[in-house]
Point group: C2
Amino acid sequence: MKPKKTSLSDIAKQVGVSTALVSYVMSGKEKEGRVGLEVAQKIRDVASELNYQPNLLAKSLRDGRTHTIGLIIADISNPFFANIAREVEDESRKNGYTVIIGSSDENADKAWDLMNVLVNRQVDGFIIVSAEGSEKLVLHLQAIKMPFVLLDRHFPQFETDFVVTDNAKASYDACSHLIESGYRRIGFVAYRSRMFHISERIRGYREALINSQITPKVDWLKEVRFEATEIEIRTAINELVRGESPIDAVIFSTYGLAVNGLKYINELRLRVPDDLGIVSFGQAEVFDLYYCPISFMRQPIDVLGKNAVDLLMERLQNPGGVRQHITIDARLVARESSRKKHKME
Amino acid sequence: MKPKKTSLSDIAKQVGVSTALVSYVMSGKEKEGRVGLEVAQKIRDVASELNYQPNLLAKSLRDGRTHTIGLIIADISNPFFANIAREVEDESRKNGYTVIIGSSDENADKAWDLMNVLVNRQVDGFIIVSAEGSEKLVLHLQAIKMPFVLLDRHFPQFETDFVVTDNAKASYDACSHLIESGYRRIGFVAYRSRMFHISERIRGYREALINSQITPKVDWLKEVRFEATEIEIRTAINELVRGESPIDAVIFSTYGLAVNGLKYINELRLRVPDDLGIVSFGQAEVFDLYYCPISFMRQPIDVLGKNAVDLLMERLQNPGGVRQHITIDARLVARESSRKKHKME
DNA sequence: TCTATTCGCTTAATCGTTTAAGCAGATTTA
DNA sequence: TAAATCTGCTTAAACGATTAAGCGAATAGA
């Protein structure tokens, strides 16, 4: 039925030598294997004649490395993660590694299951964008001494390798920028979460306000549950723009929040930035093409992805080395959605 | 250093039996293996005590199936493909399969290399969104009897399994819709390509015009090279709106073309749909949030993805079975960008 | 009581590779 | 000239799991 693939021993048989010789030749170790010149050539000829392709499974089983890494992200259909995946894929291939991607949907149980599947498939290491509640996963990877790098989000209580953006600073910059542009009552929409990167973003936002002698009102901070984004973001925005202290600008702390938020803002026929200034996290074509291009904090996804892979490669070489913490700055891309307010207000 | 994972023989040693017994128990074949009750229990106890996890590499090497499928797409950072990837991933996992994704960048050589890597990793089958010039790849997979399903694009000259949208019909519907809305001079922007799905889209567009007694002008069809989208789309649109027979509506045959086209249309300060009606292929948040929501042909990505996986699963079961061709209709989602023209024009 | 059958287990081959160890024969060294 | 080294190759174990075949001992059948 299926034509059996040619193996080392097929070549060996045809040439009339042992598989050992063939192996040496095929893996470029003719010197070490002390293979004769004519025999080596004969082996190469037969190999290409039979179109020999090595079985990576056998190789991996033998030497305990699969040259495969597992990438666990929230959702590959989210452009932020899709771009990360792309970077990780490219950078890994450059290093001779294949990537297996899995989406956790921000669900720690799913992430745990995924991790187990990938561990059983003997990946050499992981790059992980953690879901909330993934402490167990991190501890388990440490326990089994599986190399891994946390990306975009990390747990300050654990000593791990990680590559993240400076979220507090990014938020601080976003908020300061709005203040400089003349906005004073600035809302902040985040996912309801106890994750560090979220609280860092909130902290940065608060500090920027305080630093400008603006007292952050509790009502300005809205936390939306990830599982019910579409519904809860409507409530949140309603309260923000129609509450006791209505806002004149808002920061979306995430791409998904921005998209859903903007949809509702359109429905309400609020004009950006006249009715509402906006700065968002995340990035995507949406922000360019919106009638009023959206200002956003650009996270250098390419740098994040590349650093994560490089760091993991380093860790694979040297599992015992000191853990590295890489923090990368986000850069404000100012657009129309946060342009200067007219003073006449 | 790294704590060696527990293997069957570790358990066997500790219980004092052969690995065969342990294997029977761990794979739920106690009956077949005729394993004693107490011994079976002892094995289970020790297994969970040592936290035994099977080595899927060894299993795969032994029985020739990896329960892995390769997914080759153009670019994971393109939302259309990202969504496909997501569907394929989910549906595969339901079937106990893991997916390895690779991006070809619409480049046949890259696709070929990717295919080889995945073949060497012993994937059980492929789902492929072909790049132009991938005939060699398809023929090779057939030659080595590797099961595969073509997704979204296929080669009519080869007898393969495939799952595609009815592109001619989709294009026909898109164009007819514009005509019904009062547009008469309709442009069509496509990638320069000899791929079947592209020419089908062009064919459907032409037929719709002819069917309405409109003679399609050659100048209305613009083909841009994938590698130079950003530059060439500007020329294309310039010529379309400022040429001898300027258009009043345009169809973008692809998500990427739409995004780049819309950016330039914004720059030109053309108003949609008053200056230019629009219908696009592809789908994404952009289309919802554009100041004038974009009409588009909705390709049911979930159905495409699910069908591709299911078809591949079937083919894995029955490699010899008759090839299946699944064609799925796209549905027009009419929005503001193609709303009825005022008669006064 | 003698032969079949069942039970509970072990042995060993297999998947495709890698690589340390060993073995003749030829060549060099002292 | 005897010992040491080099050359070109083979043998065989190992990675971790699966599973057909086989082997005593106990049980059943007649």
